[in-house]
C-alpha cells in the first residue's frame, strides 16, 4: 500500500509537471506562430508571401529582396544606432528618476505625498500624443528639433508615470528593518536608495524597463514629428518608408521590422536576466 502511495505521489508530481509544460507549450505556440509567419515570409518573394503564406521559403520562393531593399534604402545602421541611443538613454532616465521618485513616495511620509503620487500618476491616463503641438513648439523654441535629445526627453516624460507607479508598489515590499539597518550603519538616504533599495528591486526594474522600452522602440509618432531628419531617424521611422499610400513593399516592411525585433529582443533578454528568484532571501527572519 505504502508503495502505491509513493507511486501516486510521484505520478502526481510528474503529471503536474507535464500539465504545466503542456499549457506553456500550447501558449508558446500561440505566441510564436504569427511571429513565425512573419519571419518566414520576410524571406520570400512577394508573390510567394501571398500565394502560400504558410509554407517555408524554398528554392523557388526564397528571396532576400526585402532585406536588400532595406539595406539599400537609407542608412539603416544609423537608424539602428539612433533607436538604440534613444531607447537606452530614455530607459536609463526613466528607471533612475522613476525609482528615485517612487522611493520618495513609498518610503517617506510627508505632506502632499498622496497628492504628488496622484499627480505623477495622471500621466498614465492621457496619451502624451495629445500634447504634440505644444511639445513641438517647445522643442522648436529650444532648438531641439531634429535632435535625439528631444525624443529622449519626451520618452522620459512618457515613461515616468508608469515607472513611478509600478516601482513604488514594489518598494513597499522591501523590509523596513533592512533600510533601518542601513540608516543605523550611517548610510545616507541616497546611499540607502542606491546601495540597498535599487539592487533589491531588480526584478521590478527589469519589468519596468521592458514595459518602457517597447513603446519607445516601436514609436512612430514622435520621431516623425520631432526628429524626422535623416541623421536622427529611428528604425521604425525608417521602415515606414516602405509603407506607401497605395503600394506597400511588404517584403521590405517585413524585413525591416523583423530586423528591428532583434535589438529589442536582446535588450529584453538582458533585462529578463535580472528576474532572479530569491533576491531578498536570507535578509530577515
Amino acid at each position: 500500500m505504502s508503495v502505491d502511495i509513493q507511486k501516486t505521489a510521484c505520478s502526481q508530481v510528474t503529471f503536474r509537471a507535464i500539465a504545466a509544460h503542456a499549457i506553456l507549450i500550447t501558449y508558446t505556440l500561440i505566441a510564436l506562430f504569427p511571429v513565425f509567419v512573419i519571419v518566414i515570409n520576410s524571406f520570400k518573394s512577394r508573390n510567394a508571401i501571398f500565394r502560400e503564406p504558410l509554407s517555408l521559403p524554398n528554392a523557388e520562393s526564397f528571396s532576400l529582396k526585402g532585406y536588400e531593399t532595406v539595406l539599400k534604402q537609407g542608412d539603416f545602421v544609423l537608424y539602428f544606432q539612433n533607436s538604440l541611443i534613444v531607447t537606452v538613454a530614455s530607459l536609463t532616465m526613466v528607471l533612475l528618476f522613476g525609482a528615485m521618485a517612487a522611493f520618495a513616495l513609498s518610503e517617506y511620509r510627508f505632506r502632499g505625498n498622496l497628492l504628488t503620487g496622484l499627480y505623477l500618476a495622471i500621466g498614465i491616463m492621457i496619451p502624451i500624443r495629445l500634447g504634440t503641438v505644444a511639445i513641438l513648439e517647445m522643442m522648436v523654441a529650444s532648438g531641439l528639433v531634429n535632435t535625439l535629445t528631444a525624443l529622449i526627453l519626451v520618452y522620459t516624460a512618457q515613461g515616468l508615470p508608469l515607472a513611478v507607479f509600478i516601482l513604488s508598489e514594489f518598494m513597499q515590499g522591501i523590509s523596513d528593518d533592512l533600510k533601518n539597518a542601513g540608516r543605523i550603519d550611517g548610510l545616507t538616504e541616497y546611499t540607502i536608495f542606491g546601495v540597498l533599495v535599487l539592487p533589491l528591486i531588480r526584478p521590478a526594474l527589469a519589468t519596468v524597463a521592458v514595459f518602457t522600452m517597447i513603446p519607445i522602440w516601436n514609436d512612430l509618432w514622435f520621431p516623425l514629428i520631432l526628429a524626422p531628419a535623416e541623421e536622427t531617424k529611428t528604425i521604425t521611422l525608417g521602415a515606414q518608408v516602405f509603407i506607401g499610400q497605395f503600394v506597400t513593399d511588404w517584403n521590405a516592411v517585413l524585413a525591416s521590422l523583423s530586423l528591428a525585433i532583434i535589438p529589442v529582443l536582446v535588450l529584453y533578454l538582458i533585462f529578463s536576466r535580472q528576474l532572479i528568484k530569491g533576491i531578498t532571501a536570507g535578509a530577515v527572519k
Binding site: N47, F50, V133, L136, M139, V140, L220, L224, V247, T248
Partner: protein, 395 residues
C-alpha cells in the same frame, strides 16, 4: 544664394523617383538650390504636417492634399498665396480648382497630378470566359456572370475591410455616369439635387449588386489583399484608380487592359472621375521664398509634367500642354479624357466641411450597401440627413 529646400509629402511611394529623376533634373538647372524630399506615411501626413506647421518646423515646400485640407492651411496663413506665380498660367481653371480660395481668386498650390478611375482587367481571364470589354452596365454584369460561371477567377477584386475602396473605387468610380459628372456634382453643391435623388441612389444600386461577384470573405479583405488577389491572377476585374498602374505593371505576370466605367444604357455619354489629387505649395514661413518659387515654376513647366507623368504612370499631369504617355495602360486611361466627360469626386469640394463628414459617411454607406446591411435608399437617406444637418443649401 544657396538654399536647401525640404519637401513635405505623403508620397512615400515616390521617394526613389524624386531622388533618382526629379531632383537631379531640377538641380541640374538650378545648381545653387538643393532639394530634400522627406515623405511621411500617408495616413499620418495631415496630422504630422499640421503639427509641424503650427510649431514652425515644417519644410519649405508642401505637398497639397486637394480642397479643404490645403485650403484650411492657406487660411491659417501657413501656405503662401501663389497668385503671381508665372507657372500658374500653365493650368486650366479646372486643374486649379482644388487649390484655390472659394471665390476662385487666389491659388495656393501648383497642381501636380490627377488620378483617373476605371476598371483594370485581366485579359487572360476575359479570354478564358470568352467575354469582351463591356461598354454598358448590362454588358458589365453579363461579363461578370460569365466569369463567375466559369469559376476560374474571382470576378471582382475588392474588399470592404478598409472601407475607402468601396467609396472611391466603387461609388465615385461608377457614379459620375449617373449624376452626369460636373453637372450633378455642382447641382448637389448648390442644393439643387439631393443625395436621395435617383442619380445619387443609382450608383448604390449597382454597388449592391457587386456583392455576389466579390471573393469569399470580402468583408475582411483589405486593400493590399485586393491588389494581391488581382496581380496574382486570381481575380478578373479590379475597380481601380490609375495610380495602380505602376505597381500592377511590376507585379502582374499577365496582360492587363482597362475600361472606363460602363454607361447605364448604350449610347449614353460616359463620365469619368479625373480627380485632382496632388498639388504643391510653399510654406508661408519659408526662409527661401525665392528658391521655393523657382521650384514651383519648374513644377508648372512642361519638362516636369513629362518627367513626372512618365516616371509615375497613372498620375497624370494637369498642365495644359499635352504629355505623351509611354505606358500603354496609362495611355488607355488618359485616352478616356477625350471620349468622356471628366469630373472630380463628388464629396471632395465643400461638401465634406462639416460633421458628419460626407466623405467618411460615403465610405461607410458604400460598404454597408455592398454588404447588404443597408438598402441603397436607406444609405442615400442617411447621407442626405447627415449633409442637411450642417450644409445650408441642402437644409
Amino acid at each position: 544664394q544657396d538654399a536647401t529646400l525640404t519637401i513635405e509629402s505623403w508620397r512615400n511611394d515616390d521617394l526613389s523617383i524624386w531622388q533618382d529623376k526629379i531632383i537631379p533634373a531640377f538641380e541640374a538647372k538650378h545648381p545653387n538650390i538643393k532639394l530634400k524630399f522627406t515623405p511621411s506615411a500617408p495616413a499620418e501626413y495631415n496630422a504630422v504636417l499640421n503639427s509641424k506647421l503650427e510649431a514652425g518646423s515644417a519644410g519649405d515646400l508642401i505637398t497639397c492634399r486637394p480642397f479643404d485640407a490645403s485650403l484650411s492651411l492657406f487660411e491659417a496663413n501657413q501656405l503662401a498665396p501663389l497668385t503671381d506665380l508665372e507657372g500658374m498660367s500653365n493650368f486650366s481653371d479646372v486643374a486649379k480648382s482644388a487649390w484655390i480660395t472659394d471665390d476662385g481668386s487666389t491659388p495656393f498650390c501648383v497642381p501636380m497630378a490627377s488620378v483617373i478611375h476605371g476598371f483594370i482587367y485581366n485579359v487572360e481571364a476575359f479570354e478564358d470566359a470568352g467575354v469582351e470589354v463591356p461598354e454598358t452596365e448590362a454588358e458589365f454584369f453579363a461579363a461578370l456572370d460569365a466569369i463567375k460561371e466559369k469559376g476560374n477567377y474571382i470576378p471582382l477584386a475588392m474588399g470592404t475591410n478598409d472601407q475607402w475602396e468601396a467609396a472611391t473605387m466603387g461609388y465615385n468610380n461608377v457614379g459620375p455616369n449617373y449624376w452626369k459628372g460636373e453637372e450633378g456634382r455642382n447641382a448637389l453643391i448648390k442644393g439643387e439635387q439631393k443625395l436621395t435623388d435617383e442619380p445619387w441612389i443609382a450608383p448604390f444600386r449597382q454597388l449592391a449588386k457587386w456583392k455576389d461577384y466579390l471573393g469569399d470573405g470580402f468583408e475582411a479583405q483589405t486593400y493590399p489583399d485586393s491588389q494581391n488577389l488581382f496581380t496574382l491572377g486570381r481575380a478578373a476585374v479590379y475597380p481601380a484608380g490609375s495610380w495602380e498602374i505602376s505597381g500592377f505593371n511590376t507585379n502582374a505576370q499577365f496582360k492587363m487592359g482597362a475600361f472606363n466605367p460602363p454607361v447605364p444604357n448604350e449610347g449614353d455619354t460616359c463620365y469619368i472621375s479625373d480627380h485632382t489629387d496632388i498639388g504643391i505649395g510653399m510654406n508661408a514661413n519659408t526662409k527661401h521664398p525665392e528658391a521655393a518659387k523657382a521650384f514651383l515654376n519648374w513644377v508648372g513647366s512642361e519638362e516636369f509634367a513629362s518627367l513626372y507623368a512618365n516616371s509615375l504612370p497613372g498620375f497624370f499631369p494637369l498642365s495644359k500642354t499635352a504629355v505623351k504617355m509611354e505606358d500603354p495602360l496609362a495611355q488607355e486611361f488618359i485616352s478616356w479624357r477625350e471620349k468622356c466627360e471628366p469630373t472630380i469626386r463628388s464629396t471632395y469640394q465643400i461638401l465634406s466641411r462639416g460633421t458628419p463628414n460626407l466623405e467618411n459617411e460615403t465610405w461607410n454607406a458604400s460598404v454597408s450597401v455592398i454588404k447588404g446591411a443597408e438598402t441603397p435608399e436607406e444609405a442615400g437617406k442617411r447621407l442626405q440627413d447627415g449633409l442637411a444637418s450642417w450644409y445650408d443649401p441642402q437644409k
